[in-house]
């Protein structure tokens, strides 16, 4: 009997916009082969504005999750899409991320990365693939839990900037903070990180994931995978 895959894509900015259509195209072609039922939930409380157009592709102005879900539903009719036009908060996190989910996290702040990683630590089975970038480099972290045990490490392990973030989630920001100009980003770096996230997804799905983090630098022309496995006894802490 064909299975079912429940995917959450949190953050539909530069990385999320680059990732979504390729993820959908791959899953639609897989569904035609396997009959696997695919549901993709897009989550973002932000609205697309014309100033984002240098890195983000939306066919209309409006909430990013709603607009992108509508676009994808037209292009990939064999898949099921749902939009949640909200930022991640403590109040909605347990409804957004559930056991068995595959979560692509493409947000622009460490506060949300910490919250989602902590939520995943509570779940028996989950795959979290999180990407972030600066101007010309970035990284992808893959946190896998199976059978109530960590297979790879949570996003906060070895990353104090995520464990103790200095930034805020968009849900905590004032209108002035949200409107302030953010650090500049480069479309090609968003693409590089999105590609690394999809590569990690494919490696996991095909049972060949051998790393828990990968670094990408588009100027150096390099990617560096690193293992992130729990040490003996770490699952029992």
């Amino acid at each position: 009997m064909p299975g079912r895959i429940d995917i959450k894509l949190i953050g539909i900015g530069g990385i999320g916009c680059a990732l979504a259509p390729f993820l959908a195209r791959y899953l639609q072609s897989e569904r035609q082969l396997t009959g696997e039922e695919v549901r993709i939930t897009l989550v973002d409380g932000d609205a697309f504005e014309s100033k984002n157009a240098a890195r983000q592709s939306f066919e209309s102005i409006g909430n990013k999750a709603k607009v992108k879900a509508s676009e994808l539903a037209l292009g990939f009719p064999d898949l099921s899409f749902r939009a949640i036009p909200e930022f991640v908060t403590a109040a909605n996190l347990s409804d957004l991320v559930k056991a068995g989910d595959l979560v692509f996290l493409a947000v622009d702040n460490h506060a949300t990365r910490r919250a989602v990683s902590r939520r995943c630590e509570e779940l028996s089975e989950v795959v979290l693939i999180s990407g972030g970038n600066d101007f010309t480099d970035g990284n992808v972290q893959i946190y896998v839990r199976q059978g109530d045990r960590d297979i790879t490490l949570p996003l906060t392990r070895f990353h104090p900037e995520i464990a103790d973030p200095k930034d805020k989630s968009p849900a905590e920001m004032s209108c002035e903070e949200l409107a302030a100009d953010a650090a500049p980003q480069l479309l090609f770096t968003n693409l590089g990180v999105a590609c690394a996230m999809l590569n990690a997804f494919y490696a996991w799905r095909s049972g060949r994931l051998r790393y828990g983090e990968v670094y990408v630098d588009i100027v150096e022309g390099r990617a560096q995978p690193v293992a992130r496995a729990p040490r003996d006894g770490e699952n029992d802490l």
Binding site: G11, G13, G14, I15, G16, A106, V107, D108, N109, H110, R113, G131, G132, N133, D134, D137, G138, N139, Q141, L155, F158, H159, P160, E161, I162, D167, A182, A183, Q185, N190, V193, Y215, V216, D217, E220, R222, A223, Q224, V226, A227, R228, A229, R231
Partner: protein, 90 residues
């Protein structure tokens, strides 16, 4: 040992060059190198490579997958990673 002496031992290994018995692999982001660093401390290596690789003072030191203190002495065959800070934007 001075910083200059440590730096002198941290050149990226050239293809075909034979390994010595004191090799330690060092990672920082996309950068990696192998050098004769056995017997040096994590702090020695951080100081020697700090400017060349722009290593953040916040970067956690990890040896063979385990977080370590700066005073730990490296052994031949180990891998030392200074964990590059995660990209923030998206």
């Amino acid at each position: 040992m001075s910083d200059a002496q440590v730096k002198g031992t941290t050149r990226t290994k050239v293809a075909g060059q034979s390994k010595t018995q004191n090799q330690v692999r060092v990672l920082y982001g996309v950068h990696s190198l192998e050098a004769d660093l056995a017997g040096r401390t994590v702090a020695d290596v951080r100081q020697a490579l700090r400017q060349a690789l722009n290593i953040s003072p916040q970067a956690v030191a990890v040896v063979d997958g385990r977080e370590v203190e700066e005073g730990v002495i490296l052994l031949a065959g180990q891998q030392l990673e200074f964990v590059r800070l995660a990209g923030e934007k998206g």
